[in-house]
């Protein structure tokens, strides 16, 4: 039997927040999941008034979380490059975001998610709406393209990415 009314939002939130955060971490990584968590429940609040019944609230919450995660990826792709700060205190994903800024959209997203956020290829596939295998291919194609573009002395010395290995980029090698 269909439950008549959605419960007070407090109850909905308490029941589903752990699952939503889990899903967002899976899709976005721990850091980005925090922003997406806010966004997910704010969107849920916006839509809560128009819910006609309390069926499948769990699925509804997770659907919103997945849309938010997908939007975050789209936004990240569309963001213009920020001017370079004088001291580089940016997290790895920000540095990689600029480094990979000229790559085709999908390659860039795959590189940034893989090396900036440490996401699994499965999670990247889910976030990009493609398969794990396609995500893996996009990431490796992106890294190859970066190596070709960055070129120069470093590349000749190391045969890898042109930047000297730092904490942030070491994992790419």
């Amino acid at each position: 039997m269909a439950a008549l009314h959605p419960p007070p939002f407090e109850k909905f939130y308490e029941e589903h927040r752990a699952a939503v955060l889990g899903e967002l971490r899976r899709l976005l990584g721990v850091q980005a999941a925090e922003d997406a968590y806010q966004e997910t429940f704010l969107r849920a609040l916006r839509g809560y008034d128009s819910l006609r019944h309390a069926d499948n609230l769990h699925a509804w919450a997770l659907t919103i979380a997945r849309r938010v995660a997908a939007d975050q990826h789209r936004r990240r792709d569309a963001e213009p490059e920020a001017p370079e700060p004088s001291i580089d205190t940016r997290p790895a994903y920000a540095e990689l975001g600029e480094l990979a800024g000229t790559l085709p959209r999908k390659e860039r997203a795959a590189v940034v998610l893989r090396y900036g956020y440490d996401l699994s290829y499965a999670a990247i596939g889910a976030a990009l709406g493609s398969s794990e295998q396609a995500a893996r291919q996009a990431a490796s194609a992106g890294v190859r393209r970066l190596r070709r573009r960055l070129g120069g002395a470093d590349q000749q010395r190391s045969g890898r990415l042109s930047r000297p290995p730092t904490d942030k980029t070491r994992r790419m090698q």
């Binding site: 959605p6 419960p7 007070p8 939002f9 407090e10 927040r17 752990a18 971490r25 809560y48 008034d49």
Partner: protein, 190 residues
């Protein structure tokens, strides 16, 4: 997956700040026990003794809308004035109240009640007369018993014509405590 207290709080405050809530509520400690305080965008709408949050959120959702969330920010001004009141530093509340769920005639009585000053008492009959319904002392008793915003709307200041305390939604002991706090009762008589 455990949601950290900071992440949780950030969402609750963001939701309130974004104006997305029908009701924000929080629990606060007082000398007469834990109180649940709830507010809407119009003002304080509920104060509850011995709160059972699950039951209260259901009640608030039915009365004001389902978007009920615990959030400290909107409740803070009420909490502060309650603290001042219990410390004896505040004789009058400066708070808007939201009485939408109350029937219009109850609202009239509650507004009249709000004017009974700190440290004084009135009677059910006098309040009925003041509200223009001199025969309605018993009905006024019912309105007091169902007062959604006790303390701020001071139903504890309404007593029987013979001087007995009669009753209180939060229990007679609390009524006595509040009246003593306000200096409205001669302690030696009790």
């Amino acid at each position: 997956m455990t949601v950290s207290p900071m992440l949780d709080r950030r969402f609750r405050e963001a939701a309130a700040a974004a104006g997305l809530l029908d009701v924000a509520y929080d629990l606060t400690d007082s000398p007469i026990g834990t109180l649940l305080v709830a507010t809407t965008d119009r003002g304080v709408c509920r104060i509850s003794f011995d709160p059972e949050p699950d039951r209260m959120t259901e009640e608030l959702a039915r009365a004001f809308g389902a978007r009920v969330l615990r959030a400290a920010g909107p409740v803070e001004p009420v909490r502060r004035q309650l603290d001042e009141y219990f410390d004896g530093r505040r004789k009058q509340f400066e708070l808007a109240v939201d009485l939408r769920p109350s029937a219009p005639c109850s609202r009239d009585v509650l507004r009249r009640l709000a004017r009974v000053p700190h440290g004084e008492v009135t009677t059910y009959g006098a309040l009925a007369r003041a509200a223009g319904r001199p025969q309605a002392a018993r009905a006024v008793g019912t309105v007091m018993n169902r007062n959604p915003i006790p303390i701020v709307l001071p139903c504890h200041r309404v007593i029987g014509a013979n001087g007995s305390l009669v009753g209180y939604g939060g229990g007679l002991e609390r009524k006595e405590r509040l009246l003593k706090l306000e200096g409205a009762l001669d302690n030696t008589l009790l």
